[in-house]
């Protein structure tokens, strides 16, 4: 397994290289790293920065310079803040991963539970209700749902019951003067996590239901039934285990997409994660942040893919990791 993982990681290097070059080319073609200085009253600024940043060299040379710095931990300086890019992206990534961790964990549990229920009780009232709710969950835009949650679960209870504070918070991940993993953190986490979870639960539960139904109609399940294996055992040990492998792949791919895809959720809840960083950098054309940001997201996709493959092998012994 370890050898396979290492081999896959090594095989990912060319993919990352190609992806990084394409991203480098695309970002440089779209944004002008010196846009800010083109309005400068300092006549030397443009030339000075052009030389300092190596922008007078050919694109492949610029790319190699940038990659060298990136690998050595020198991700450049943000034109927006003047700060080092590595800690900026690192902090944002850490914040977003917190949301992803809690959100994905909750969504997996809920989606599997709903999928199991729906598959086991196909075409019952409960199944129909859950199917309807799933469609609703998929259709609800995060910005609207987040604001509705804020009103229903935070503002309204405070006003209705005359509470000194809302039961759940919705600005950032900590109140003023708080830090670390405490109750205040959890009270901040609930609403953004629900917001990002609802769409995931909706789609994953439908996927879980479909794969479980497929597994339940297979010959080995029919055989198990014929042998008199109890229903819950068939469902959990035979059908679920087989259905989990494709389910995990979908989860991993969606989780990877969340690394750069929580723009709206982070904006609404004022969480300084990858989405907010992307938005701020995009608005100001901060190429020195956008480039590593995109590469980090690309690497996350590759890593989550690898994770999915490894999980696949763990869940299905028939899959050989070669």
């Amino acid at each position: 397994m370890t050898r396979y993982a290492l081999r896959r990681l090594l095989a990912s290097v060319p993919v990352v290289c190609v992806a990084s070059f394409v991203l480098f080319w695309a970002v440089r073609a779209t944004f002008d790293p010196l846009a800010k200085l083109r309005q400068s009253v300092d006549p030397t600024a443009l030339h000075r920065e052009t030389v300092r940043l190596g922008l007078d060299r050919s694109l492949p040379e610029q790319y190699l310079l940038w990659v060298k710095g990136f690998v050595q931990g020198d991700w450049g300086i943000s034109t927006r803040t003047g700060g080092a890019v590595l800690p900026m992206v690192g902090d944002a990534l850490g914040t977003t991963l917190q949301l992803i961790l809690w959100g994905v964990a909750l969504a997996v549990v809920l989606a599997l539970a709903i999928g199991l229920y729906s598959a086991a009780r196909q075409y019952t009232v409960g199944d129909h209700v859950l199917t309807g709710l799933s469609y609703l969950g998929v259709a609800m835009p995060a910005f609207w749902f987040g604001l509705v949650l804020i009103q229903l679960l935070a503002v309204w209870p405070k006003q209705q019951f005359g509470l000194p504070d809302p039961p759940l918070y919705f600005v950032g991940l900590h109140s003023v003067g708080h830090s670390g993993l405490d109750l205040d953190y959890l009270r901040h986490l609930v609403l953004p996590v629900i917001t990002l979870t609802v769409g995931l639960v909706a789609s994953w539960s439908r996927f879980g239901r479909a794969t479980l139904l497929e597994a339940l109609s297979s010959n080995y399940v029919r055989t198990a039934r014929a042998k008199g294996v109890p229903r819950h055992r068939i469902l959990l040990r035979h059908a679920l285990r087989n259905a989990l492998a494709p389910f995990v792949t979908v989860v991993a791919m969606d989780a990877a997409a969340l690394v750069g895809g929580l723009v709206v959720t982070e904006q609404i809840f004022s969480i300084p994660g990858m989405g907010k960083l992307f938005l701020a950098s995009l608005e100001t054309g901060d190429v020195f942040v956008l480039l590593p940001w995109m590469l980090v997201v690309a690497v996350a996709v590759i890593l989550f893919n690898l994770l999915a493959d490894l999980s696949y092998a763990l869940l299905d012994p028939r899959v050989a990791l070669r």
């Binding site: 009253v41 910005f143 604001l147 309204w156 809302p166 950032g172 003023v176 004022s270 969480i271």
Partner: protein, 570 residues
């Protein structure tokens, strides 16, 4: 003087620069409960409830500054100015309302009003500092600090705006409380030096050091009523009183500005008691959202701001390279209808009739008031210029339709609505309008400087009560190699006879003569219609029941200009 441009969201603008509106704001909140039948928030211009000593407030801040090096290019954040700079950096002039006009007045940093005189063709300004003025470490604020600040701006690299400072030939410091600054040529806006833009920095702490490195993530020194206790990036800025401040001490023990970039969520946070005050972007739905807060919210609306929204015509591009078309355009747009739709709920219903924002009202005239919707006049102008209507009902000349694109900020509800109204109004008048929006970075970093637009819709923000029309309307401010592409006359405006008048506005030291020259410039601009002013964009301050003190908005120093006087109500 051409100004550098930083494509920031609500950027701090050196004299007058395009200001990009907030993106992704007011994302269509529909309050779901308890909204009907509640009393509407009180709206007026100022309150003054008695306060007690001590306590803390949390204020919602829509934007986080990029850095706290106010001199550097990264320090271009109006929110940074409001939250930190105004509270911690002493300045020579404050901007106060006097006789109905916003006016620079000597601050308590000064022992007396600075004086100026011409020596030959050079301008000499004498500053006398208040001997009681000290930094937070107890060291006196001296003339050396003025000299340090002046030279940092004049000679520094990556400086946000050198206007005025680039004319400094020398700074003499005959004693610790006297500084004499000599400018190589007269500078009408001399009161802006060491004023709202930059203030005065401590030489004893910064001399010989990398100023940007010391200041950019927040700094410990202060020469104002507050000190920066912490700046947690992406989360909050906390201020505590500066115990050595020589002026009135703050009533509060602590003020925290917590970043909440989504206006709708920030208003909800106010409703939930997380925030005690807000300064929201006036989007289309903002007033409605604030109304849902009922009597718990006290709302102040200020229409006399430094923000001016305008329709910017590219005078070098078809069809606005024709003066007749520009005039016909002006007679085809019902600006009053647009303003009423956009800002009517804030009480702003009249269009702007000048390119001076209300902050500069003393220099403004109303020469654009003659441009009202008049289809006959518009048609007459077009026909006289050789245009005829084609089968589609659009004006055409030499086989080319009077068609153009309007460019503004993508995702800004208010701007997009304005564009749609324009499209409808101008379509009826025979102009084919298409909408092509983009990001602030692309518009102000690329399209506008390159002149790659036809009609632009964006704001100008005046940050000091001094006229700076030349930055936008002088032909010398057209981005070119001659000015190192640093001009902001993106519209390529060249009005005959205007440049010398603007030059006199910039260099005249006599206020009465300066006002007269300003009026002349405004008349020339209105006659040529190189662009069209739309409206003064209002500011809104929302405070909760806990907040007391003299609450009002200063269009230069922001809503927290007098934060030291704020407190918890008794």
């Amino acid at each position: 003087m051409p100004q550098p441009l930083t494509a920031t969201v609500q950027g701090r603008l050196p004299a007058r620069l395009p200001a990009a509106g907030a993106l992704l704001t007011a994302l269509a909140l529909t309050a779901t409960a308890c909204t009907s039948g509640t009393p509407t928030p009180q709206a007026d211009t100022a309150t003054n409830l008695p306060v007690r000593q001590g306590g803390s407030l949390v204020i919602g801040a829509e934007q986080e500054p990029d850095c706290a090096d106010w001199i550097g290019t990264c320090g271009a954040s109006i929110w940074g100015t409001y939250m930190m700079q105004t509270q911690t950096v002493p300045q020579v002039f404050d901007v106060r309302l006097k006789g109905g006009n916003w006016t620079p007045v000597a601050s308590n940093l000064m022992a007396s009003e600075p004086t100026t005189k011409l020596v030959g063709n050079q301008q000499q300004i004498t500053y006398k500092l208040n001997p009681k003025a000290v930094w937070s470490d107890g060291k006196p604020i001296t003339s050396a600090d003025l000299k340090y600040t002046a030279l940092q701006v004049r000679d520094g690299k990556a400086i946000f705006d050198k206007s005025g400072y680039d004319r400094i030939t020398s700074v003499a410091t005959p004693d610790a409380t006297t500084a004499v600054v000599t400018l190589k040529s007269p500078y009408g806006n001399w009161k802006q030096l060491f004023g709202a833009s930059y203030g005065v920095l401590p030489s004893h702490l910064l001399q010989g050091k990398d100023r940007d490195a010391v200041m950019k993530d927040g700094y410990s020194f202060s020469g104002g009523p507050w000190k920066i206790a912490s700046w947690k990036k992406g989360v909050s800025v906390t201020l505590v009183p500066n115990s050595r401040y020589w002026g009135p001490k703050p009533h509060l023990d602590r003020v925290t500005f917590q970043f909440a970039s989504d206006t709708s969520a920030a208003i909800q946070a106010f409703a939930g008691g997380t925030f005690d005050a807000l300064y929201p972007t006036p989007q289309l739905t903002t007033v409605d959202q604030i109304k849902t807060l009922g009597s718990a919210a006290h709302m102040q609306v200020q229409s006399g701001t430094g923000n001016l929204q305008a329709l910017w015509l590219n005078n070098a591009k078809f069809p606005f390279d024709s003066a007749a078309v520009r005039k016909a355009f002006a007679y085809s747009v019902d600006r009053a209808a647009i303003v009423k739709r956009l800002f009517g709920s804030y009480g702003v219903t009249a269009p702007a009739q000048s390119f001076m924002s209300p902050l500069l009202s003393r220099y403004a005239s109303d020469d654009f008031s003659g441009y009202r919707p008049d289809a006959a006049k518009a048609a007459q102008l077009m026909k006289a210029d050789g245009w005829t209507k084609n089968g589609g009902g659009y004006w055409a000349k030499n086989g080319k339709e009077a068609a153009f694109t309007v460019t503004s900020l993508a995702g800004n509800q208010s701007r997009e609505l304005t564009e749609q109204i324009l499209q409808s109004q101008l379509g009826k008048a025979g102009f084919r309008v298409t909408i092509k929006n983009s990001t602030p970075a692309n518009i102000f970093g690329k399209l506008a400087p390159a002149g790659d637009f036809q009609l632009g819709l964006w704001n100008l923000t005046d940050s000091f009560p001094n006229p700076t029309l030349s930055a936008t309307f002088s032909s010398t401010a057209i981005p070119s190699a001659a000015n190192d592409q640093s001009g902001i006359n993106f519209m390529r405006i060249r009005v005959a006879g205007l440049d010398p008048v603007l030059e006199r506005v910039d260099t005249e030291l006599d206020e009465t003569a300066r006002v007269a020259e300003s009026h002349k410039a405004e008349k020339l601009i209105a006659d040529d219609v190189p662009s069209l002013p739309l409206a003064a964009v209002p500011n809104i301050l929302v405070t909760g029941a806990r907040v007391g003190g003299p609450l009002s908005i200063n269009p230069v120093e922001g809503p927290w200009w007098n934060l030291a006087e704020w407190g918890l109500t008794k």
